[in-house]
């Protein structure tokens, strides 16, 4: 039993006394929210903090020297480099500069992000427990490395519900970069042990943005309307006879399905977007299924009040050929990410929309494979990585946290993934310790038994 079914039942005749005792628990938001919704730009594969955000000028002179043991501290490595005989320091080949009034350091690979430097809070001191993609993504998505718990979007849709009766509360879109792509899993946006209806709904490019959305060929919306009327008439008969509230719910869900058949194609149809939109988001934006097109859709979903919008962009796993492949990744993502912030701001939506840009972990300062003057690879690195946040509840133009001279260990203000979760919930007006679901006798939370709101990031 969860709060939402209870609330829906309350309309269907649950006794007043019962309702009273059931609602004694918390309702959300717990306090005035800064953000009404989240856009989570998940950069899947582990973007290199060393080549994008975490400027380490001192490394240049150390190029090719062995990573000191005092830095590595015997920390575990992945099975891919654990047998490597040396760990040569690989400084970034990319130039860094300060941007905006805030003077935020960013790499030359992010010229568009540079233009929104004063809107974003860069966090350079995030760390995770996981060292491989699947557990790391699962950890970022659910607060736990092993699959089985609800994803963050499911938690939020469970806690805060939907603001739009014609669209799902949690929408996911996946795009494919040009770099080395690792597999994702549907459970990344699943609901774990809370009811399936809180799962993310994946929007796909193509004829059926949502699975089974389109009527079969030859069957018009008019015919579908008639079909639904007839179906409802029959289901009403059943409801009158059996009085099971589930029947009333089913009738209502068919109506929402019908509305989705209109609202989703209207949403995903970019043909009425003005030229200026495509100029802003870049040339890829005209191609459905690209990260850029998905960023436009994210804005359109935000406009329509969808609670949790999540993009997954694959291809950030640069074990080798990093200088070449990372550039390709950034070419596809830098402009659209920045455009989204700018676009939301222009429309007055940025203040009420929390935007998060993050991967699942960082990458090693030492080269995986051979280090040359122009080429290197980087292995997975859980001990520090960088992300940025912007919009509702977030103080723009700041850089939080520091790593050591090798971007290997955190030097100050460590931030756990749980802290990011707590902070995201906080921006939504949700006290992270109160958003719970009882399963197997335990009151589970997104933040498990951890999580501190990172106050320094708040506006």
């Amino acid at each position: 039993m969860n709060r939402r079914t209870l609330l829906s039942r309350s309309a269907q005749g649950l006794g007043a006394m019962a309702l009273q005792s059931l609602l004694s628990a918390d309702t959300f938001p717990n306090f005035a929210p800064k953000a009404k919704r989240v856009i989570y730009l998940f950069q899947h594969g582990g973007p290199s903090q060393l080549d994008l955000f975490d400027y380490k000028p001192g490394l240049t002179k150390l190029s090719g020297t062995e990573l000191p043991d005092s830095i590595r501290q015997g920390q575990r490595l992945t099975g891919m480099t654990a047998f490597q005989t040396g760990f040569p320091t690989a400084p970034s080949v990319f130039k860094f500069a300060r941007h905006g009034q805030s003077g935020t350091y960013l790499s030359e690979l992010l010229p568009h992000t540079a233009k929104i430097a004063d809107e974003i809070a860069v966090v350079r001191s995030v760390h995770t427990e996981a060292i491989n993609h699947d557990p790391a993504v699962t950890f970022c998505q659910t607060g736990f490395q092993l699959a089985g718990r609800p994803s963050i979007g499911a938690w939020i849709s469970y806690g805060l519900g939907s603001e739009n009766q014609d669209l799902p509360a949690y929408v996911v879109m996946v795009s494919q970069g040009k770099g080395n792509a690792q597999a994702l899993a549907d459970r990344s946006w699943g609901s774990g042990f809370i009811p399936t209806k809180y799962s993310g709904v994946k929007f796909r490019s193509g004829a059926d943005p949502v699975l089974y959305l389109s009527n079969p060929e030859g069957y018009s919306p008019t015919a579908r309307r008639r079909f639904l009327d007839d179906l409802a008439a029959l289901n009403q008969q059943k409801l009158a006879e059996y009085q099971d509230p589930e029947i009333a719910t089913r009738i209502a869900q068919y109506e929402m399905a019908f509305r989705m058949q209109t609202s989703v194609p209207e949403l995903t149809d970019l043909s009425k977007e003005p030229e200026s939109t495509f100029d802003l988001y870049g040339p890829d934006a005209r191609t459905p299924g690209t990260y850029a097109a998905n960023c436009i859709l994210a804005r359109r979903l935000a406009e329509r009040g969808v609670r949790f919008i999540q993009l997954f962009h694959r291809g950030w796993d640069q074990h080798g050929n990093l200088p070449r492949d990372l550039r390709l990744q950034c070419e596809q993502t830098d402009q659209p990410s920045a455009a989204l912030i700018q676009d939301l701001k222009n429309r007055g939506l940025l203040d009420e929309t929390l935007v998060v840009w993050s991967g699942e972990f960082g990458r090693t300062v030492y080269s995986q494979g051979t280090l040359t003057a122009t080429d290197y690879g980087r292995d997975h690195h859980p001990r520090c990585f960088s992300l940025w946040m912007a919009g509702g509840g977030i103080k723009g133009g700041i850089t939080h946290g520091e790593t050591d001279d090798f971007s290997y260990n955190i030097a100050s203000d460590p931030v756990e993934v749980h802290d990011i979760h707590a902070t995201m919930l906080h921006c939504l007006g949700v006290e992270h310790t109160k958003l719970t679901y009882r399963f197997q006798g335990r009151h589970y939370r997104l933040t498990d038994v951890h999580g501190q709101v990172v106050r320094a990031l708040l506006s």
Binding site: A183, A185, N235, Y242, P245, T433, Q440, G441
Partner: protein, 972 residues
């Protein structure tokens, strides 16, 4: 929550500790003042009576009879936030109603009870009643409870409704019109019983039962985690279906799954049964630390075993003592150690099964094998009869060298091309032999690999004077490498032979020099994936004297080389190497003799080779096995790399001890779990069956019978059923029949506003169950009523329709979903291929268990995606079309009523008939031919040309409409 409401508010009576008080203390207090209190430095425990009632500096946490002197009550009501319990940081508060309950309980003397589920079930006499309503003792318990709540049972369901309910519950399929007619015609008082017997005897029964068991056992056809390659566990699924169908005793069913491999003279089926605890995920990712996942697999076994058979959330004690139940972290690792002796690697195979696994031929394959063995025996007998002739004849050629010809893939001699693109096309699971004669020097002798150092593929070398063999997918961490201890003398001639038996381990490699097996040093033994991903071709040629780059060019001479696609036995290796022994003379003679005996001998060799190859096509199944005992340690905070105190296998102290005489291993554990003294197995099992039929268990938390679990709605009934189950010899079918025969089950599921208000979840059972069908049943029922369902039992998983691209979008790029063809498109849902990371979308839409980890609680939601699924998925459009055809073909005077009955099991009411008739007319008018043609073009099943497209399309639309009815997807 609802239950507490019913328990206290609905009928005021004496407070009972287990029912009313323990849930409050457990939920609000035990996390700190519970079993783990001491570890956290908290002196007060409220889960132990003596401590809770003890005097502490003149005060009492709980003082029986004196609520005002009981600190617990003061603290939950404290005005000062700093003094109030539970502390604000926990997010918990004690409600007014809960305070009242605590107060009343303390006033009434604060009587304590041990946690009910850990005590043996008590024999219960069914309450007596004047009522004629009860049909069996279940009803006496239910009625007595209803009486207390001042509720009355509902009327019996209509016969057709009841038959449909029972059909879904026992077979997962709706009844056919013919079955309904038989039921109506059977006027005997046992008509319903006959129907139950028919359903229980149906092969579909085992499939229905297996579907939920697969959820609990986290069955899947892929490994999960990131790469999520295919594995093969369907022979375990076959075993489950078969076990239910032959009504195996449940204790034996449980025993064999936990420890069938350890039974004396374990049969193949008993070993297959242990696949239960190998169904967990396996991580194949390149970068993992294998030890980390080896721990996860064992934890998964502990969690699954304890949830399924004990209803305990033992996993909560992995990192610390259990917060609610008296289970310590040490006990968790003692239990863990029963499952920790599997000779396994934390990194799983990229494709296929990971050791240990067993060849598991199907019944048909076993029969075929027996036939082949008989044929081999016959040829052997024929040779024996001619033994004298052979001995006489072979003398003449005794000095010849025996060169086996069976399975010869390639032979080479100097002067021939040194690269062959076709030969030696083996991968890591193939068997092969490479036999050479060389003049020794360093370098590659025979290879099939990318031509660079540390390349991918396999090769036989001389390296530093030693024979070196590698089988490599990734030199760094995905390879086998062995070297002989013996060094060859440069310039001397040797026969170097290598055999490999496809076992994906260094132990599968044997190196011979001059026919003698060699001791080897294994420098790498971590091979996980084939040279190429599934489906692709490994293009490297077989090279003589080269491979692995210019530096590895062979510096000696190769005098001959032979490649066989089988493992030559030692005698043939020796003979081929030129070793002469008297017993080889016979082979040397027969291999080439142009006589009847020679023919027979060669035929025999062929038959043996074919039989071995046939045996390699057998499906395999991962099984449990105990290797050398591993020392288990407590893992601090559950982390694989933080071992603490060493522990030995043992059982939680709250449960009865293991009976004397049992071995303290997994088999002993299994015998203990299935012994009648275990208070949990029977209760947990009957409760899960109850959930299958009523939608909710008597204990709603079917996964948790600990103190955080819900109090049973009918504790006496639960105990009675549990004891009855054990008394019957754990007879599952008898239990089903008992429950389904009860008046409780046979009630109508119609409800009323009053009942909805009093008991929205129907926990008191004043009405019959009305529950949406399980996901696979929704599709099965649509296929069944449209006549598409292909009913065949068991076998590999199939791939029915699925929207294109779902796998490709997010999986590794080489994986795509290839739909099955023909009848395999229409098999029952439990045979649908389950890819863990991208599960079948229809199943997911309808709340299927996740198959990532053990799931025993059934869940039902009601969403717009379900509506879209039923309206627009080709599965339900094609079924609608076939249903339309059936209406036209078989429906006689009233096709609509016939179709309605196929789906709902009843005839439509006049109002329903009118709606359907009008809808049909609308669709007849709607479907012009240019609309009908594409509308009918759904699915691969051929359209019946007997009907005009416009008419058929209209009926097809009605067919789909019927499949969308609430009633179509609901058991009522």
């Amino acid at each position: 929550m609802i239950l507490a409401l019913l328990a206290i508010s609905a009928f005021a009576q004496k407070v009972e500790f287990n029912r009313d008080v323990r849930p409050i203390l457990s939920d609000k207090c035990f996390a700190c003042h519970g079993p783990d209190a001491k570890a956290k430095g908290i002196p007060l425990r409220l889960d132990v009576e003596a401590e809770a009632k003890a005097e502490r500096r003149g005060r009492f946490a709980i003082k029986p009879g004196s609520p005002d002197e009981s600190e617990v009550l003061r603290r939950v009501r404290a005005a000062q936030p700093a003094r109030r319990m539970p502390p604000a940081i926990t997010g918990h508060t004690v409600t007014d109603a809960e305070v009242a309950t605590l107060r009343q309980w303390i006033s009434e003397g604060a009587a304590w009870q041990a946690h009910w589920a850990f005590l043996a079930p008590k024999p219960q006499a069914p309450p007596t009643t004047e009522s004629k309503w009860p049909r069996n003792p279940i009803d006496n318990f239910v009625l007595s409870r209803l009486d207390r709540a001042k509720l009355t049972p509902s009327l019996p369901a209509k016969p057709e409704t009841l038959l449909r309910r029972a059909s879904f519950d026992l077979t997962g399929l709706p009844p056919t019109p013919a079955e309904i007619d038989i039921f109506f015609k059977d006027k005997s008082p046992q008509a319903y019983e006959h129907a139950l017997d028919r359903l229980l005897a149906s092969p579909r029964y085992g499939e229905r039962m297996a579907a939920r068991w697969l959820d609990a056992a986290r069955y899947a056809d892929t490994n999960g985690y990131q790469f999520d390659g295919e594995r093969q566990m369907w022979r375990w699924r076959d075993w489950v279906i078969e076990a239910f169908n032959r009504n195996q005793r449940f204790d034996q069913f449980a025993l064999e799954q936990i420890a069938g491999d350890l039974l004396p003279q374990a049969t193949l089926n008993q070993r297959i049964a242990t696949g239960f605890n190998r169904n967990h995920r396996g991580n194949t990712e390149d970068g993992i630390v294998p030890e980390e996942y080896a721990v996860e697999y064992v934890v998964d076994r502990v969690e699954t075993t304890s949830t399924v058979f004990l209803g305990l959330t033992l996993g909560c004690a992995r990192c610390h003592n259990h917060k609610y139940d008296p289970l310590t972290q040490k006990e968790f690792y003692q239990f863990f150690s029963y499952f920790n002796n599997v000779p396994e690697n934390g990194r799983a195979m990229k494709y296929g099964n990971s050791p240990p696994y067993a060849a598991a031929p199907t019944v048909a394959q076993q029969a075929e094998l027996a036939k082949r063995e008989a044929a081999i025996a016959a040829e052997r007998a024929a040779l024996r009869r001619d033994e004298a002739k052979i001995t006489a004849a072979q003398g003449e050629t005794a000095s010849a060298r025996w060169v086996p010809t069976v399975g010869l893939d390639f032979a080479w001699k100097p002067g021939e091309p040194t690269a062959n693109p076709q030969a030696g096309a083996f991968d890591i699971r193939d068997h092969f032999t490479i036999a050479t004669r060389i003049k020794a020097a360093n370098g590659a002798i025979v290879t099939k690999m990318t031509d660079r150092p540390q390349g991918r593929g396999y090769g036989v070398y001389v390296k530093d004077g030693r024979v070196h063999v590698h089988i490599t997918s990734n030199y760094v961490n995905d390879a086998i490498r062995v070297d002989t201890e013996r060094q060859l003398e440069p310039g001397r001639e040797y026969a170097v032979t290598v055999t490999y038996d496809g076992r994906v381990a260094a132990a599968g490699v044997t190196v011979y020099v001059d026919g003698e097996p060699q001791a080897v040093k294994v420098s790498q033994d971590t091979l996980y994936r084939p040279f190429v991903n599934a489906g692709a071709i490994f293009k490297e040629p077989l090279r003589m004297g080269a491979g692995g780059g210019p530096a590895n060019k062979f510096a000696g001479e190769i005098h001959e080389a032979r490649v066989y696609s089988r493992v030559l036995p030692p005698d043939q290796v020796a003979a081929l190497a030129g070793v002469t022994r008297p017993e080889f003379a016979r082979g040397a003679y027969l291999e080439t003799a142009q006589t009847a005996q020679g023919n027979t001998w060669r035929k025999l060799q062929q038959l043996i080779d074919q039989q071995e190859r046939f045996a390699r096509t057998f499906p395999t199944v991962m099984v449990m096995a105990d290797g050398a005992p591993k020392q288990t340690h407590i893992l601090l905070r559950g982390a694989y790399d933080k071992p603490g105190e060493a522990v030995t296998p043992g059982l939680p102290a709250i449960l009865p001890p293991m009976p004397a005489g049992l071995p303290n291993n997994r088999l002993g554990l299994a015998r203990w779990i299935t012994s009648p003294e275990n208070p949990l197995l029977a209760r947990v099992t009957v409760n899960r069956f109850w959930q299958m039929y009523f939608g909710t268990g008597l204990v709603k938390t079917v996964e948790d019978f600990g103190t955080q679990g819900d109090w049973p709605s009918h504790p006496e009934l639960l105990d009675w059923l549990a004891l009855e189950f054990v008394r019957s010899g754990w007879d599952v079918k008898a239990l089903q029949k008992l429950i389904l025969s009860s008046a409780t089950y046979r009630q109508s599921s119609k409800t009323t506003p009053e009942l909805l208000e009093r008991d929205p979840d129907n926990r008191l059972l004043a009405r019959g169950p009305r529950v949406r069908l399980a996901p696979e049943m929704i599709r099965d029922a649509a296929l069944h009523s449209s006549g598409l369902l292909h009913e065949s039992l068991g076998g590999p998983s199939v791939k029915p329709y699925q929207p294109a691209g779902l796998w490709k979008e997010i999986s590794m790029q080489d994986m795509d979903y290839v739909e099955s063809t023909g009848q395999d498109l229409y098999r029952r849902g439990l045979y649908t291929f389950w890819k863990r990371t991208i599960a079948p979308p229809m199943m997911v839409n309808f709340d299927a268990a996740n198959h990532e980890s053990c799931t025993v609680r059934e869940s039902r939601t009601n969403t717009p995606l379900q509506a879209l699924n039923l309206m627009n998925d080709v599965t339900f459009l094609e079924a609608g079309r076939l249903l339309g055809e059936r209406m036209l073909k078989e429906g006689g005077a009233n096709p609509l009523a016939y179709g309605f009955r196929l789906v709902t099991g009843r005839r439509p009411s006049p109002v329903e008939s009118r709606v359907l008739k009008d809808s049909l007319q609308y669709h007849l008018d709607y479907f012009s031919s240019d609309r009908a043609a594409p509308y009918l073009n759904q699915g691969l099943h051929k359209r019946d040309p007997a009907w005009k497209p416009q008419e058929l399309a209209a009926y097809a639309a009605i067919g789909n409409l019927l499949l969308n009815l609430d009633e179509a997807v609901t058991k009522e």
